[in-house]
């Protein structure tokens, strides 16, 4: 039972204004990453080798591509949430903290886009 008044919630009152979403999304992505991460690791271990042809062939299969995109996106999100907390804990000074948070966010978004693009390129683009 929340002790917040509806007006308080609407106005975003409270010291941090928001934070539960971060906490919940961290748990949600964690729950998704347990099976996805295991799937990724065990799938790689079952490949006969890690040469380009084998890996590209594995990625290109629709089932794997779907799970890979899901894995990359979820991993990016979970990692972003986690690293953000570390920055907030240890980086002192308004300017430095802001810069660090922005950098962390950009790096994660870029890596996520790159990873997803790469999977789609291999699975759809006929390049290998």
């Amino acid at each position: 039972m929340s002790l917040r008044s509806p007006l308080g919630r609407a106005l975003g009152h409270g010291a941090a204004k928001e934070g539960v979403a971060h906490w919940w999304h961290q748990r949600l992505t964690a729950m998704a990453l347990a099976p996805l991460g295991l799937w990724f690791l065990l799938s790689l271990l079952q490949l006969p080798d890690l040469g380009h042809a084998t890996v590209a062939g594995w990625i290109a299969r629709p089932f794997n591509a779907v799970l890979l995109v899901s894995f990359v996106a979820t991993l990016a999100w979970h990692s972003q949430l986690g690293v953000q907390v570390v920055v907030e804990d240890y980086v002192r000074g308004k300017g430095a903290r802001l810069a660090a948070l922005v950098l962390v966010r950009f790096a994660h978004v870029l890596a996520a886009v790159a990873g997803i693009f790469a999977v789609l390129a291999v699975a759809l683009g006929g390049r290998a």
Binding site: L41, Q46, H52, A112, R127
Partner: protein, 132 residues
């Protein structure tokens, strides 16, 4: 963000490291290592998309001695972060808060993480010849 930076209360200078606190910071440490691993994963995927030539360069680094060390370290970080994370999820569900339970589950996490890491490393060694 606070307008005035208030001083942190001292903890590292005051409290002796304990089993549970070491496990906790290890979880964070493993998470940071895995965050770097995520960036490398994106890089590796891009290398696959780039074709044989691009892939060869990345694969060469990964297959080198420092590369294999890094992969082994990531494997350990993955398993530790996974089991320690499950322990966190149990706490979120309200389970295992007693001191005794916390210490026991902590030991279980370490044992499972080391065992899983050893097994998967051995599998990778066997499968890919001397490390993934």
């Amino acid at each position: 963000m606070a307008l005035h930076e208030r001083p942190l209360s001292p903890h590292l200078q005051v409290y002796r490291p304990m089993y549970t606190t070491v496990l906790s910071i290890s979880h964070r440490f493993a998470g940071l290592a895995l965050a770097v691993g995520f960036l490398l994963l994106a890089w590796w995927l891009m290398a696959v998309a780039g074709g044989e030539a691009d892939y060869a360069a990345t694969a060469a680094w990964l297959g080198s001695v420092p590369g294999r060390f890094a992969l082994a370290a990531w494997l350990l970080a993955f398993w530790y972060h996974l089991f320690a994370g499950l322990r966190h999820l149990a706490w979120d569900a309200g389970l295992g808060f007693e001191k005794r339970s916390a210490r026991r589950s902590g030991m279980l996490v370490v044992v499972l993480a080391l065992a899983a890491a050893a097994i998967t490393l051995a599998l990778a060694w066997r499968q890919f010849g001397g490390g993934a």
